[in-house]
């Protein structure tokens, strides 16, 4: 999803640059509290890991591959504010040293991959934590779904930006279909990695997971005289209980989807509403097939049913959430069985 120089027009680049600068600025202020406790080493390590994870191009069928984003994972580990900084750092390094993503598009890239994935991932995680049983293990399914949702949403946002400021006009519906269909698959991979990493961290060092800090069990200590006492575990900075997370998360997700549908509707070609089921299926199929010999970012073939990207986008998000909730249910049943 790394945007190169000259991909979007100047106003879009500047606007997203401003968004990114604002987000980073606010995060810098808010992250200080998180960072004072945990230190930059952990944030730096998370950054290194996100970087590594973005290098892993994993196959998504038909001989193609996509790369992971890591925003939701970072948010769960170091907290949302620090996570924005972490993602921005990663993108800056990629732009400067690896020529991955253009420098004039840095703002765009930070907005898409740094801010949106973190916000979506974190809100979804927090919201699910409200719903799931109150124990540390719940963080794994919650964040996994956060990760799963965050990727297609970022893809939708990409499409939205393209609709506003793409250098060339192409049917936004098709682009949205391809991007979202594609990134649902990437999101699945992201979910797998996120789950693997988080479950290992939760199993051995739950105190390191920002999102789980308030859920830790107390520890039992035996002192010199053999007396037992119970103490609260190490709990540097725990997130505040968020009551409205669910609403905010869902609202945010749909806001992005909706805004994009607006742009898409304004576009003459994107207005043919096809049945939801059919639309989604062909979207998924297109992205898997049309881009098969090509690396990333395939654009679906020509001549297929014209699908409203917005609709497909919203459906994609819905399906993702549904699948995610189902997985969460399963996972929490399984982890409950294990702890028993």
């Amino acid at each position: 999803m790394h945007v190169p120089d000259g991909f979007f027009d100047a106003p879009t680049s500047i606007a997203t640059g401003l968004i990114a600068a604002g987000a980073v600025g606010v995060s810098l202020q808010r992250a200080n509290r998180e960072l004072r406790e945990t230190g930059p080493a952990l944030a730096g390590l998370t950054a290194a890991f996100v970087f590594a994870v973005q290098m892993v191009n994993f196959p998504v069928g038909a001989g193609t591959s996509g790369h992971l984003l890591g925003g939701a994972l970072a948010a769960a580990l170091v907290g949302p504010w620090t996570a924005v900084l972490v993602m921005s750092t990663v993108l800056l390094v990629q732009g400067l040293l690896f020529a991955d993503g253009g420098l004039t598009a840095l703002g765009t890239n930070i907005t898409l991959m740094g801010v949106i994935t973190v916000i979506v991932g974190y809100f979804v995680t927090r919201a699910l934590l409200q719903a799931l049983p109150k124990r540390v293990g719940s963080v794994v399914p919650a964040t996994t779904i956060g990760a799963l949702v965050s990727v297609p949403v970022a893809a939708l946002a990409f499409t939205g930006l393209y609709a506003v400021g793409g250098a060339v006009e192409i049917p936004i519906g098709k682009l949205a279909t391809a991007m979202v269909g594609w990134h649902i698959l990437v999101g699945l991979g992201e979910a797998v990695i996120t789950a693997a990493v988080l479950s290992a961290v939760v199993a051995t060092r739950p105190d390191l997971v920002y999102a789980a800090r308030h859920l830790q069990k107390d520890l039992v200590l035996v002192d010199a005289d053999g007396n037992t006492s119970t103490v609260a575990p190490d709990r540097p900075i725990a997130p505040k209980p968020a009551g409205r997370s669910l609403g905010v998360g869902v609202a945010f997700t749909f806001l992005i989807a909706g805004v994009i549908s607006l742009f898409a509707s304004a576009h003459p070609d994107g207005l043919e509403f096809v049945g939801a089921k059919l639309g989604f299926e062909s979207a998924a199929k297109d992205s898997a097939v049309a881009s098969s010999p090509l690396a990333d970012y395939g654009v679906s073939g020509i001549g297929n049913t014209q699908v409203s990207g917005a609709l497909a986008g919203i459906i994609g998000v819905l399906v993702t959430i549904a699948v995610g909730l189902a997985i969460a249910k399963l996972a929490s049943i399984r982890s409950a069985a294990r702890t028993e």
Partner: protein
């Protein structure tokens, strides 16, 4: 143990460009890319001039052309995108080689390709001539917020820890009779990725504590004093300024 990410992408030769302070190179890179992006896509000669400038840099920096070509591979996804543009874009169609393609698509493809490629090559020149550590010092001199610098410096350090760890895991695995092949390795890495993370995480934590034990309070002490002289600034920015002149000329003169 072998290929260490600690040295980043530096091509270790000595050249004028290698010797420039990092902050000069970073600023020069930004200005250059800005100039390129601001140039109307239609002014083909301007892009040719930019390319000539960049090739000059590559030669001046004594970079092996093969290395530069290889690193340009990051661009592939967008080349693909660009190649598709003429077919999917809307608007008036034109005939090329018997195919009907979108005029604006062809134009857009050229736009994306030309600007993207120039940006990528410029970044490659920076990364091949600057060690990560100098880059950090440069960014610090450019007053990047210290929090970001701190994250960045640990990230650079941990890139080598994690990649070394991955490398070690592979070796430890192979030296115990593991013959999974490539796919098997991926599977094993996926299974081990959690353990790898915790392990690196804890190492990160211990290192942070070791730093605190030696008086670290959140700011890395400035150990190198790499202020740039005015001549170095002039030298470094010469190319960017030329690029700006080209951009202005392109806007004024047009085709």
């Amino acid at each position: 143990m072998t290929a260490s990410a600690g040295d980043g992408l530096l091509v270790a030769v000595d050249s004028r460009i290698h010797r420039l302070p990092a902050q000069v190179k970073i600023v020069a890179l930004f200005l250059f890319v800005l100039a390129v992006v601001a140039t109307p896509a239609a002014v083909v000669w301007a892009f040719a001039l930019y390319a000539v400038l960049l090739v000059g840099c590559v030669v001046l920096a004594k970079l092996p052309p093969a290395t530069v070509m290889r690193r340009m591979a990051v661009e592939t996804p967008f080349i693909v995108f660009a190649l598709l543009l003429p077919f999917v874009a809307t608007g008036p169609q034109i005939e090329v080689l018997g195919l009907s393609v979108s005029e604006s698509g062809v134009f857009g493809a050229w736009n994306v390709l030309a600007k993207g490629t120039l940006g990528v090559v410029a970044a490659i020149v920076l990364s091949a001539t600057t060690a990560p550590r100098e880059l950090l010092a440069g960014l610090e001199r450019l007053r990047l917020p210290s929090t970001l610098i701190a994250i960045l410096s640990f990230m650079v350090r941990y890139l080598s820890v994690v990649s070394d760890d991955l490398h070690r895991m592979r070796i430890a695995r192979e030296s115990r009779g593991y013959t999974g092949g490539r796919a098997g390795h991926l599977k094993a890495v996926a299974a081990g990725v959690g353990a790898l993370f915790v392990r690196s995480f804890e190492r990160g934590e211990r290192v942070h504590l070791a730093m605190q034990a030696r008086g670290y309070t959140g700011r890395m002490p400035q150990l190198t004093h790499s202020g740039a002289t005015r001549n170095q600034w002039l030298e470094g920015l010469a190319i960017s300024l030329t690029a700006f002149a080209i951009a202005v000329a392109a806007r004024v003169v047009g085709l």
